[in-house]
Amino acid sequence: MPSLRRLTQCFLLLTGILCLSACGHPAASSQAAHRTTITFWHGMTADHQAALTQLVNRFNRSQTRYRVVPVSQGNFGTLQQKITVAAKSDTLPTIAQTTYTNVPNYVQGHLVVPLDAYLGKRPFQDVVPVFRQSISYRGKAYAFPFSKSARILFYNRDLLKQQNVALPATWAALHQDGKRLKSQHITALALDQSFLTELNDLTYQAGTPLITRGPRANLNTKQTRAATHVLWDMLQDHTATTAGNAGYGSTQFFAGKTLFYSGSSAAIPVMQASAPKGFHWGTTVEPRYHGRQGTSVSGNDIVLFKSASPAQRRGAAAFLHFLLQKKQTIQWAEKTGYLPLTTSACQDPHYQRYLARHPNARAAVRSLDFGFQDRAFQGYPQYFTAINQSLDRLTTTQTSPEQALPQLQQRVNTILRENRGA
């Protein structure tokens, strides 16, 4: 019977393959034998991946002892999932890209080692002060800043001129302009799907951040309610809109009937590629609130896992040190749109010339002077999910801040309590 024969063949082939593949693989290449391999899991794809590969290749050429092997794990979501799974089965790479806000959980899980012992304190001294905020947790450096960006305000140059609107210095001014322009079917502000970053900025500017030392949640204070209202009121009277399922507000911004878009500076290169023909846009810093400036800095960092051998740890430190060098960090910034990591790189004439050629990149660098980063604490991922869900309810249903925030405060209190107990 032919089908039986075929099936048997299939089965034999299959067993053969299994035996072959289960026997394990010999070392990837002979040259790796005498060089320590540093595996680097990251979430960069496309152009960003190309830029990273270039840096890694340069490092590997400069080295005889170490070899960095970058592995793209797709987007940050799948990267995070890979790290979670690998952590549970003790198969972590040497280093990986992740956010510093995961560090407290990783420290509790005994997954990461401090970088201080291998990198020393010195290399960090030149790091831009706001990036330095997130390096340390409980007095030790765990998170090496890597792909960082700032929240900035994009503006439609032509529409601004046509409507005779000045760049808004304050959130109140932005709202006022919005009310005036509504009759002409112009929306003042486009936001991303979640306005968490903007809310973070506002509460920081008001001097009452959402999470303060302790950690303590201030989600239902008078100041937080007032700050939430700044954004919520704009959404209610349609002077601002959120992107919803489109994710990024730039879609609406490019449609031409929106003055401003509050978004991440990391989006600049892609925005350049996606802007419709003849669409002129510029960037500026986020408006003030309570007379103060303050801009969220976000992005990803690199952590070193405990499972790495001493040689791998030293190699990782060498690689991180290399990334901080002026030439590398400037190249990284220019190729990807992320921010340079060190103060000396920001002031470097080469980078200044780049900024002169690319004026849109300037707002983010300027924001560094008054930038800030969230406090990291155990249970941050849960907090992040909870607050985003609350804000999503504010934008997609009839819920008011007065209804949503007390619930949120309660939920976050529970999260903080549970994590303190853990």
Binding site: T39, Q49, N75, S89, Y248
Partner: protein, 272 residues
Amino acid sequence: MKKLLIGGRYLLLALGAVAMLLPFVWMVVISLQPAATTLTLPTFAWSSALHWENYRHAWRLAPFAQYYGNSLLVTATTTGGQLFTSILAAFAFSHLHFYGRRLLFRGLIALTMIPGELLLIPNFITLTHLHWINTYAALIVPWLTSIFAMFALRQAFLTHPQSLYYAARLEGASDWQYLWHVLVPLNRPVITAVGLLQAIGSWNAFMWPLIVTNSPRLRTLPVGLMTFTSQTGTNYPLLMAATVFVVVPLLILYLALQKYIVAGITRANLKG
């Protein structure tokens, strides 16, 4: 009257076909737009030139030849294995009498109700203990059975009268012979259909291959599709071009197998 009925049938089918086809056409259209990483889907202009070179570029952006090889290998072996194990088990459940048959069958069906997300981590840990992470074995072995396939084949096997089985047995055929020489040929449409469905599932699997492999050498096509999406934007034309060349082998497979699935079975030569 009859002609009218046939005409109505075609009309209905055509209407549904448009709904089925539209997204696919859209995919191809987008794949021919000028390539660029953008935040939103490009709007298409009919007048613009068709960018067939997108397919070439997409192919070169990631090691797709390697991914193709891996996908082919994994899909072929898992589908073959699934069919083999399922045919055997389906035969036992449909033709053999043994203790706990009903309970075991129901228990197996119940197991398919467990969400895969729950099984992912423990399975990963098992594979780590077996030292199978980053090997073909990790991609293949856990998928060598399919309870769904077993269920489907058992349902099909049950439709044959028991008398046929007893007759064959009385004529001296063993269970093994009856299964492979009578039952399997008789059920070729169902077996082919189930095999095709399993192959498609395996071909499009994304999360498992990503989780259990670390090097691009072992990764499969769906993982390769991630190359075109970054945190800040997506190269939609290239993504769609790549999606098209991921889908095409499945279409070819379908077209090749179609005649087996829908070809009516002839029962005349059953006695042979």
